[in-house]
Amino acid sequence: MPPFEQLLEWSVKIAVGFIILMTMVAYLSLIERRLLAFIQMRYGPNRVGPFGLFQPIADGLKFIFKEDLIPLDADKFLYVMAPALSLVPALMTFTLIPVGGEVTLPLLDRPIALHITSINVGILAVLAMTGMGVHGIVLAGYASNNKYSLLGGLRSSAQLVSYELAMSLSIIGVLIQAGSLDLVTIVERQGGGWGLGWHVFWFQPLGFFVFLVSMIAETNRAPFDLPEAESELVAGFHTEYSSMKFAMFFIAEYANMVTAAAMATTLFLGGWQGPGVTRWPWLGPVYFLLKVAFFLFLYVWLRASSPRLRYDQLMDFGWKFLLPLALVNVVLSATLALWF
């Protein structure tokens, strides 16, 4: 049995990570609505509390008190399981992402590393979690016994499977360069050189581009939010869901957005690296959050300013453009790795 102290450390880290992730998810929804409103010259939700800051709490309460419907002909067991199946992997991925280096806390005699766990196959584990999340969407589509749900679920899973390929291939360049699959090591390798050591600058710009596009498609966000195309599919795979079950899909989607942003930061933008981190380790999480916020802003900006792709265009783009580009990047990275 691992020592009690170790177990306690893990539990505290998991609890803190969970709370931070949930807070980010809640306020991401508010920031998204306010930003969209700002871009479209509206007010947005600004009534609940100062600047609408309590809006997420009000939304949460509303979800809890809504009636929980289960369609008559639905497959009850799978219908209830599906939201959990999509939420759990979304929350688990965050355990592997380092949000900072080693810091010292008052009252503790040893440094604490600011990541929950670090395993030898970090990136593979993240990809595995992403792959498992698809099952929830497919089952939701099937179990609802509704044609819009089924079509939405099928579309969504086809999209996720296609873009997962391009995303995994775009990561290979980073792996070749960093020489490790462990996210902690990958971040440490990108330090120094006034930020020029970040993978986005130091010969992975192509990989970064492919990753960025496929990450937006992976999280089902505009302009790739085909599964939720209102004009064709009502609300896609979660058409029949209400109350907390809908909230679980909602949280899963936003948690996936945060995780994808954190992954992009970790792999390409140097994670928590930044000026002065070696002297003041607490700056690490601050830099990390700023970089993640940049990607989250990008998500909202894209949603406000770009129209939705058609389904065949989406598939063509993934298979005929992004995938070859990712393959070219693999070859380029391998060649450059031989030279340098």
């Binding site: 049995m1 067991f77 595995a128 792959g131 497919v138 099928l154 499977v161 699959l181």
Partner: protein, 165 residues
């Protein structure tokens, strides 16, 4: 009982329970679901033995990709759960127990002869070791498998291709 043993019992129960459910459940989608559960438990067991790469690959390949294909096929063919299939070859049921015993005996004989370190080494399954072995000692089988998969892809494309008028 140590913490490790407790974890082992939990995950082993997941694997066995999932496996039994696959055989017993009539609804094919539930069966696929049970198989996924079983794979996840198996992956956890691999990780506990220090074979982290195999554990991750188990989820990415089997629980992720292959089971997704299964679920797709089941959903698109719309296989009904309540369809009663006529029980053909009823005598096969009576063969099940002896055959299961035979298989268990064979497995036992195969495993009992194995000598060596049974404790998890914590090294054998890491990415570095797997990668080095694949690129040196097992290079030929690795390349042959790649060619085989390529053949399968070309074959699938040929079958799925629409004839041009």
């Amino acid at each position: 009982m140590t913490f490790q043993q407790l974890l082992f019992i939990g995950f082993a129960a997941l694997v066995l329970g999932g496996g039994i459910a696959v055989v017993l459940l009539r609804n094919p989608l539930y069966g696929a679901f049970a198989l996924i559960t079983s794979f996840v438990g198996l992956s956890a067991l691999y990780v506990m033995m220090g074979a982290q790469f195999i554990g991750a690959a188990q989820i990415v390949v089997y629980a992720g990709a292959i089971m997704m294909l299964f679920v797709f096929v089941i959903m698109l063919l719309n296989v009904r759960a309540d369809e009663e299939r006529p029980p053909r070859h009823r005598f096969l049921v009576w063969l099940a127990a002896p055959l299961a015993l035979l298989l268990s005996a064979g497995l036992w004989l195969a495993v009992a002869g194995v000598q060596g370190d049974r404790a998890p080494s914590g090294e054998a399954g890491t990415v570095e070791r797997v990668g080095k072995n694949l690129m040196t000692r097992y290079l030929l089988p690795f390349e042959l498998t790649s060619v085989l998969i390529l053949l399968a892809v070309v074959g699938a494309l040929h079958l799925a291709k629409r004839e041009k008028e």
